[in-house]
Symmetry: D5
Subunit: 162 residues, 10 copies
């Protein structure tokens, strides 16, 4: 097979990727998140996840909601493995919460997991009653110099009109 | 049903969501707006509403106008509930005003309701006589540090040409 | 009819809107422009006009040119009424000038009319000989603090490449 | 002014176009529809109207619905005047009906008005509860040879997937 | 409120629309489907549903799948009510089946419910392993003349390449 | 210069192309149309013109209208030269007529000019009062076998919905 | 877990789906293709695969080519399982052939595997030297009535110009 | 290197592909066209070329024209090799001809080269003087059964309006 | 004809616009560039040219390359006339150079011609071997205050990802 | 042939461009990268490469991944030649690594090769398990003044939401 860029040791702790017997939890399970080590810690760089297959429930009516979750972060020591991220997002499937809360919860869980240098989470939900809600939250690790960028990025992500 | 993220207490004051006997006021009714408490007040974050189903009347000719209202805000203690926002926007249905005034009125009403940390309202109206009008207004709560961003955002929302 | 947001008095001077006997001047007629009073003078906010139905003539060959005129401005005391703006733009129909001049002339006329706090005019003309010309001009009222934004906005409107 | 293609006589019965004192009825008023004579009756040709500014109410909940109405028809002796069509569509503004019924009603009213050679009406409504409804109805005047095309067009309007 | 196009009697059997206490079944529940009577049975016309919020599970691995369901049908005596359709589609949420089977099942359930004159169901699923599956099934009621169109439409829905 | 595919003789009658002293008539002037000979008369083939720079006036109000004219035709002996077509379309600039009439007039003028084997003209006008009008007319030369395609093409040009 | 629509027996022969130890062959390996039984053999219906992750090599220069493979087919008794299809397409990764040959080979292999009622394969390859090649091949099983559609579909897939 | 699908013998006559010393003729040189043998002659299938990098000159003014050439054909015994096609199209670079003639010439040259079972050529040229010309020509080999499709395809390629 | 905005004197030196006997040089001819005087020298404003019809040759292989040239500049005393710009760009038609060099050469020639206050040139070339090259160069006249913007604009033109 | 902008000397070291016997290495081969000299070293300017034909393997499962690599850099003395860049990217074809590592490796190799003044690499990978990963890394040469732009650009490349 292929000439591997990551050794087996470097993949330690990655148990879900390529695992046949994956269990899909649907009861809000942040404990399924797994990480691998960042091999480029001497450098600050940005990683984006686009997750268009997110669904949750309305906390009051129980009706299903759908949206896309975008995550941008600057890794520190540990990085979230994408299959475990998928299982984590799946665990909101039968969970009920407001869109504004969901985005904050996902960010808090990823902060706890990775303690990244910087992170932001954006949720682009489909319309309900003709209105779409799109919350955006971000966080800067106080040990790194991104404090000034928290406010700036909240505005820049809004973009300009077409 | 679902594992609820918000308790009943946390939904206090939210009377319209999931309510079967909703009355649709069509006479400009800011009093229909309802709020719920912000559970993440320790953090500044941005919430966007896209409302493509807005219609009002021309104050001089009475002819109907259509547009999309975009609202971006940083919540403080209270947050506007989206079904009540829908009813509020519906209440412009038989109201007559210039596009430039409508956008300022919506923003003033939301400021009064929520006293957010920052808010902006953008109206993208369909053309009349071959011309589209797109007003943008914003406001920064003097108790928070967004004063410098008011002017900046008025220009950034204009974007660049394609 | 509708619950009017603007009283008759507040529409004083608006003679063209809803007027049946509109005369369409086609000989460059800045005098057709009309204004109404800005009801939100305590606030700086942005108003955009998109005018995709603009046509003029080549000053040397007389051949017709077509383009879209975009106007962004921050109102001061008076605001241009959109039907009179339409008639004004129509008055270029049989007028001959370079695209670069047309954009500057429109801006000068609107400055004279409204003395806004800030204004910019962008012309997106269709190609001639395989080349499109897109001029952009802007102006800041010296009585307001937008002087620093004149240069900045000339560059930001260029956007980034796709 | 312009070299007119239609004489005053040929515009007989067209009372709303250019009329300053237009009354906007909002109570389902098919009687506002006006026609002008088809000057090309020796030829069968197709006319399309795109009406993206249509709104009505849900017959059970009273909540507003929005959509685009498309009308394609082959004129016979009389043709619907577009400003009166606008006023007619406006009269659904406070009327409550299912989307499937609205499309049939609009078509029936236009058949009664014009007795065209062929007509079809398509409604593209915005989503409710995550589902969009798009009804399509058509009719062929038995005095002309379009009977075979009724079924054919019901299927062709569906198009292919992207 | 609005001038209703449908009387209470004509809405008999529609219990879910506007109902506050909706229960969201997530265990494949075709029994939640409700209908209302077709008021235009003298005419054949087409109704389209676009349902971009569909999710189900892989029958072998349990992993979630997402897609859009499109339904086109010519109504006979009864028509499916759209809120009940939403609840029915929701009942696939925790159900496991191949995409090809899901599309056939949905069509069979709607045939049983409505016995329409013609119906087709198309599923546009998001990629798995870099491949998207898009099944299309259709059915013609033998009592109506659409038998010849079954094959024809299977090919026409494929469209042409861009 | 280039190795010319057309000899001078083959360009006989083409006086406007490359001519510096072009006069732009703005009073409906079908007499400006010029033709060149079809070098491939042994073959039936289709030629399309897309003309997005068309403007005319409303016959009742005098207000300007804008649209795109599409022309598809199968040439016979003579073919319309494109610069003369441009001048012809320009001659509608100060002419007043309904959209439905304009499309028929353009087609009649081109039939008279070229007597093509088949021709169709489609006008896609920008919205007025929120409604766009798009007329389509076509004609088959009785000396060629396209009679059956006149009706067929009127329907096929409508396309399917997206 | 989920309420399974397919029993274990109905998944007999499906060994790759959900299998952790998948081997990725890169030497043209039609033998990796697997099938499952069609549960709806009493009905003709269409299944589409979109495979945007296809790469092969130029047979003369060895340089890599990229494209999207589209497969449309009407199943008979056996249906191709999508993970095995992915592995099969992967096996072209280091194989060299002309685009026109690749499309024919894929179709032949799928005909041999499934003996479907009808099948077509379309390859949309990225440009080389400024030119893109897009081959389309199809086949009708002589035991079913699709013979007449082979030619028809070769032309319909070409679509119309934008 | 790769497992080759075409043997050296099967590439006989293909001299330009991968050849370092390619000469770029710019004087209309149909003689540069090369072919390879069709390995699937027992089957009729369609091959499409998209060539967005085509340029030629105006025969009267010498000014450059740009466009995209689309070629669709059903191969017979010989197939055009794509690098030689590129060189052939390049040879129009300094050649002067009307768009309508260029499309006919390209088709005639490819008919002479390949004697395909069916072929069509479409040219989508960029606008001159605000007008785009898009000619389409096609040809059916009398030895194969595509005669009826020549007219049909001339109309179908026109498509429907958006 | 039209009421001219530019007098004959103001068009002094503009010899190519509307000139019938234009010679198209194809041997890199910066000397064809012409200018006219800037009538708004008291104001800094931006002018954009979009030139999608640019073609040149590879300096090593002689094969043709195609791209779009974008030019943005703030005029000083003289402004480039667009028809002469077209002839200048045409003169690269048979010239061979790397994309990175072409963009620098065009900018240098325009700097020499106009000595503008600021200028930037961007080339968006079509892919070769699956890779597109897009060079961007800019220059600030030291007599004006745009020095700080050179670096800033090099980064801003990159934009953000979609 | 063409009037060459680069002399043979200036192309020294460019051995792959136009070379017939190119060997395609598929085992991660940074040694294939070649450079040419920057002729505009007195100026800082930006060069962008878009590479939509990138494929690699998953380090754990061996399954193929696909993506687009974007490279933006400000050249110093040496510039990477695009055909050698293509061969280098090809050498990842059978290499296994995480997306986040691949982007860092490509950037490190280009830094070593060119020691540019500034460089950034962005990878836009297609979804796996419904999630897309898009890493972005950048580097500023300490000998030039771009240190402050490293962080800024990491955020600006994220763009705003649509
Ligand atoms: Ca839990
Ligand atoms: Ca924009
Ligand atoms: Ca009120
Ligand atoms: Ca005047
Ligand atoms: Ca961009
Ligand atoms: Ca009534
Ligand atoms: Ca399609
Ligand atoms: Ca059940
Ligand atoms: Ca006349
Ligand atoms: Ca093998
Ligand atoms: Ca020759
Ligand atoms: Ca089309
Ligand atoms: Ca369409
Ligand atoms: Ca020279
Ligand atoms: Ca974006
Ligand atoms: Ca190696």
């Amino acid at each position: 097979m292929s000439e591997a860029g990551r050794s087996e040791t470097e993949l330690d702790g990655v148990t879900l990727l390529g695992n046949q017997n994956t269990t899909y939890r649907d009861d809000y399970a942040p404990e399924v998140l797994e990480t691998f080590v960042n091999k480029h810690q001497d450098r600050d760089y940005m990683v984006t996840f686009e997750c268009p297959e997110f669904t949750t429930l309305c906390p009051k009516t129980g009706q299903p909601d759908f949206g896309t979750i975008y995550i941008n972060y600057i890794p520190n020591v540990r990085m979230v493995e994408s299959k475990s991220l998928k299982l984590y997002l799946f665990s909101f499937r039968n969970h009920g919460d407001f869109h504004e809360d969901v985005v904050n919860i996902i960010m808090d869980d990823l902060v706890r997991l990775m303690e990244p240098r910087y992170i932001e989470v954006f949720g682009k939900f489909r319309p309900r009653g003709g209105i779409s809600i799109l919350p955006f939250a971000n966080w800067a690790n106080p040990e790194f110099g991104y404090g000034d960028l928290v406010t700036r990025r909240q505005f820049e992500q809004l973009g300009g009109h077409e």
